[in-house]
């Protein structure tokens, strides 16, 4: 079955109330066209898992301003003032997670692990209501895995089998999220024939990727 698809077809795959992971760091490596589909289709009550909420008008930022979110799980919301405003007004649930813990929780979700143990957050409010374990005299927090219904990712290049290569700092959470969702949709700058990507440089194996669209800013 062909993985290369259209924005229209992807629009049929996303629904209200879904838990959605979106790649990117402050918008870099975020799939703007796929976020645009959520906006155009008026998808709402989303639980969003993302590094941050970007700026008001970049990456996942429009989802906040457009009030499409029920809950956000992220490490940083400070650069999108609308997230903090909605949170303090009680309009949006926000779970703040240390960025390294977020990465490991997503990794655990994708790797079949029951959770991870991290020293990060011990003795802080991040530890509230969490189990702790002491291993060789050091305290660790038990942090649970994260999974999503859909991952919306950005890569630089894909082949038609879904193998992905990333560019520069746009990699960030994308390869981790590719393992941690039931449906993985990737926006790329360029699609090449299967066999044209050197298997040595592929970061995300194609078997993880369900749908690919090629989208350039200029289009």
């Amino acid at each position: 079955m062909g993985k290369v698809t259209t924005l229209e077809e992807i629009g049929e795959l996303v629904h209200d109330g879904m838990t959605i992971m979106v790649g990117g760091f402050m918008g870099t490596g975020a799939p703007d066209a796929l976020v645009g589909i959520l906006m155009d289709r008026d998808i709402k009550d989303i639980t969003l898992i993302s590094s941050d909420t970007a700026l008001v008008d970049t990456g996942v930022g429009p989802l906040v301003l457009g009030r499409r979110l029920k809950k956000v799980i992220a490490s940083h919301i400070g650069t999108n003032p609308e997230t903090g405003r909605q949170m303090l007004a009680g309009e949006l649930a926000v779970e703040l997670v240390p960025q390294g813990t977020l990465a490991e929780r997503v990794r655990a979700g994708g790797a079949g692990l029951g959770g991870i143990l991290t020293p990060t957050g011990t003795g802080t409010m991040v530890a509230d209501n969490k189990q702790t374990l002491t291993i060789e005299g050091r305290e660790f927090l038990v942090e649970l895995p994260l999974r999503a219904d859909v991952a919306l990712l950005k890569a630089h290049k894909a082949d038609k089998s879904g193998n992905l290569v990333y560019r520069n700092s746009a990699r960030n959470f994308n390869p981790l999220m590719a393992l941690a969702a039931d449906l993985v949709i990737v926006q790329v700058d360029e699609i090449v024939e299967t066999g044209e990507l050197d298997p040595n440089i592929v970061v995300t194996p194609g078997v993880l990727v369900d749908k690919i669209i090629c989208y350039k800013e200029s289009e």
């Binding site: 760091f25 960025q99 813990t101 959470f173």
Partner: protein, 223 residues
Amino acid sequence: MDTKELIARRAAVELHDGDVVNLGIGLPTLIPDYLPAGINIILQSENGYIGLGPVQDTIIPDLVNAGGKPANILPGGSFFDSATSFALIRGGHVDVTILGGLEVDAHGNLANWMVPGKMVPGMGGAMDLVTGAKKVIVAMEHTSKNGASKIVSDCTLPLTARGAVSMIITELAVFRFTPQGLVLEELAPGVELETVTNRTGAAFTVSADLSPMRNIPSNEVLL
């Protein structure tokens, strides 16, 4: 020089040739400008690479620093995903992190990620950095805008990490955390011990080797 330059100049001498360093957003990003000759450090950027360099005339696509601003990668650098990035940080592969603070207390606790009900930007990578870096230096102004000491006996704001801070550098002084507690080690030019005592909200001892602030000309006048 202004206070930010003074703090950055002093912080620069804490870095050694070959150190892998993560610098927080704001004042700490000024520090590489003041590295002594012959000292080359490797900057880690928590969004996924080592070899962070200053931005060039040409903007490189998909390449930003941890503040989301255009950046550069130097020869020898490499990109990786966020799990690897924080494995470097949490796993003790970063020698030094220098970051700002809202409060540091006498126990080496740091608060720098939220003011409840007012400002809740989130911790980003800060909790992992202060937990995992081998040495944590807080570089900050000594007092807040309303004049209150940012060095306190016990943090009142939510903590970033407990007992993680090695050193505090402000425009007035340098303190180090030792097993015996907070120790004042250096004074900025023109600053009297009494001034530091009056403006510091935590008890500290004065080092027997109390000295002028390193890397700052003794005749320097703060602007």
